[in-house]
Subunit: 437 residues, 2 copies
């Protein structure tokens, strides 16, 4: 099939057949489609729309453009969590060891941060020696030995998505639901899962700014997961303000280990709550627990007993990371960092902590990347001390910038300061989990 004929059909609003979509994805993978032809079809898909059947065919073709992990011979239900990304969103590092401790097998393939949203791989790499580039065999081995493994997407997994995503990013064709769903789900389905829990973020720091869009995406992904034989559930969670106390790679690892140590601090209560809730859903969905109440108790027991932290430590060891981080999580900090405080300019109630502004501020410090090929400074970041709804006095500490020099701190100070809004009237605290779908 000539690319032009397929492009022409979609250009004129026709529904593409499974054969046409297969031919497209094959052509993307074997380079018989030029990038400009792929870009033209993506734009035609965006502007003319894709039906449910086309979306499923695209997901199927992208999934089968690569390998599907063969996890046979590894015990326990295969279950994963996927988040659409946010600021301070570090739940994977808490959830995976908990679910593994409760008998689940978590084959977690993650990405790197881009723009204001962080990435699990970057966070893990702030643990000295931690290797996120496992081979398929190495991934299976780690999974078998400790119940969870964390790795980057190899070139074997949904290679079509890698190419399509790069082109979509450059051609303004990212924000279209069927393309988003096929991109996320083709990668997740390649993990050979029994169950999948999705954390769809909504708010300024999320990909989906509006709750309605987040709900649509959640519903579409749940439908697709189920259509492909994977038990799927989605949570809509709030990303108007950053999650937890810390934003920044090493700082977030610190927060996660402290949670796994059973430390309860108000500033990261939301991280713990969302992580525990997602983990409980994973247990229920994969029949490891009889209901949400029991599942939630089991999750907390796994943390309080130290089982989850032991899994984390074991995983560190297996993936080459220094397990001493589990005893002294402050080891991931660099002592030489300069801290610049952000103080309340007036008394009142916190009415907003803009997640996008804080995420962008950390990128400006070098803690995130604007382009995929940029390097990341794992040490720098930000600590949020107050959340929406809290009362503050003038001069109270709202948070602290962790940066390399005073000069660097000065250049980003205003950006962090304006992320906070304070009103004289009391403000209701934000809901963390908006809905379960």
């Amino acid at each position: 099939m000539r690319p032009q004929k397929i492009i022409e059909a979609k250009r004129d609003g026709a529904e593409l057949t499974r054969e046409q979509i297969d031919s497209f994805i094959e052509g993307v993978c074997d380079d018989s489609w030029a990038d400009y032809q792929t870009a033209a079809l993506l734009m035609a898909m965006f502007t003319r729309g894709l039906s449910q059947a086309e979306q499923d065919a695209l997901t199927y073709a992208m999934l089968h453009s690569g390998v599907i992990l063969d996890l046979s011979g590894i015990e326990g239900p295969k279950v994963d969590k996927h988040s659409t990304g946010g600021v301070g969103d570090k739940t994977s590092l808490v959830i995976a060891p908990i679910v593994a401790a409760c008998g689940g097998t978590v084959p977690m393939i993650s990405g790197r941060g881009l723009g204001h949203t962080g990435g699990t791989l970057d966070k893990l790499e702030s643990i000295p020696g931690y290797n996120v580039n496992l081979s398929c065999e190495g991934f299976r081995e780690v999974l078998k030995m400790c119940g969870y493994a964390m790795s980057g997407q190899t070139s074997d997994i949904a290679p079509a998505d890698k190419k399509l995503y790069a082109l979509r990013d450059a051609t303004a064709t990212v924000p279209y639901l069927p393309l988003i769903v096929s991109s996320i789900m083709s990668k997740k389905l390649a993990e050979g899962l029994d169950a999948l829990v999705l954390d769809v973020k909504s708010g300024s720091g999320a990909f989906m700014k509006r709750e309605g869009d987040a709900r649509d995406l959640a519903a579409a992904m749940v439908r697709t997961g189920e259509a492909f034989g994977v038990k799927t559930q989605a949570i809509i969670s709030n990303m108007a303000q950053p999650l937890g106390a810390f934003v920044g790679n090493a700082l977030e690892v610190y927060e996660c280990v402290r949670i796994l140590q059973g430390e309860t601090e108000p500033a990261w209560r939301d991280t713990a709550e969302l992580s525990f809730e997602l983990a409980a859903h994973m247990l229920v969905l994969s029949d490891l627990s009889g209901g949400m109440d029991k599942a939630r108790s089991r999750v907390e027991e796994a943390v309080n007993s130290g089982e989850a932290l032991a899994k984390f430590s074991k995983n560190c060891e297996l993936q080459g990371g220094d397990p001493k981080v589990c005893e002294k999580p402050e080891r991931v900090f660099e002592e030489s960092l300069v801290r610049v405080p952000i103080k309340a300019p007036a008394p009142g109630y916190i009415s907003g902590v803009d997640a996008l502004a804080i995420g962008d501020g950390v990128v400006a410090l070098g803690g995130g990347r604007l382009k995929a090929e940029d390097d990341v400074d794992h040490a720098v970041g930000f600590r949020c001390d107050v959340k929406v709804g809290e009362e503050v006095r003038e001069g109270d500490l709202l948070g602290e910038i962790y940066c390399r020099t005073d000069e660097q701190g000065a250049t980003v100070l205003a950006a962090f300061q304006t992320a906070y809004t304070i009103t004289p009237e009391p403000v209701v605290a934000s809901i963390l989990i908006i809905d379960v779908i």
Copy 2:
């Protein structure tokens, strides 16, 4: 301006500003826009549409992406003809010397054949030695010395169009009126004209198969020409059957010289009629003649007096071609060609001579090209002996294939044979000039 922002605006149906369109065309020329970004914007333009203002801004930006010919110091009104292309469409070679003989200056920049439609440059190159790659200075010189010059598009003229056209061809974004208009008109306006006559073809052998589409294109180009200060007129002419007697490069040159010699043969009466009519419109539009009747007489006088042929001869000489072709036009033929006759399988009236089928047949002989980089065999082609409406007896000669070997003739015989349809009932002859706009 980031390409993504401009693509996004058109993707969402916004009207692009002049600044955005300028930035796009600049980016195409300096390669700061990747081909896939250009392709995505072209598809967004196609599916979301372009307003009149956007179309004019695009034409303007493409025109000014290169040089505009400076023809100051050359006498006479600058006037050109442009055809949208067809099968056997050779009028440029007849028109340019006639208009030059009548006092016009014709700076004709032409293209090569692609697919079933022929190209003026290929026809000219069948004259031994004829050079179609003139420099700007050489082009001016020829124009000054004989009133017309014929050359290919240099890289200086509307370079944006060259890139855009190649991408449109590969991404199914050719058939959209505003893109067609901006492509054609940016090149024609670069000739620095006072007047322009357009020959918009309609029918199976034309780019616009349907008369309504041809009318829309004609109207849009006339409007654009006038908006840019060039007196513009369009003719809609019939391209359901091939024009004239011959299809094939050298064969078409033969036909043109015979017409300029004043030879009147029924088989090329339509070529002469369309050429004379277009030439007369050019004279009227550029104030070289007082009205169509007078202009038409002047045209015929230029032919009958031998003035037009003398211009042709002079131009040949100036552009390196062998002027002896004017005395003995059969010199361009290759004597070794094999002729394969097409005969009427039944008595009746010719109801169709499918221009597309005949054009494709000549391409199959090697007389045209499928890809821009293909070579062309200038000698081969086809002679059409009968036109729609003519009565034939069984076994009458309908035409002849001019090919290299009997074997080659055998492979294309059926294609030429099925181009002709014969019905028992009388058929009205086709109208050649459908309308003047």
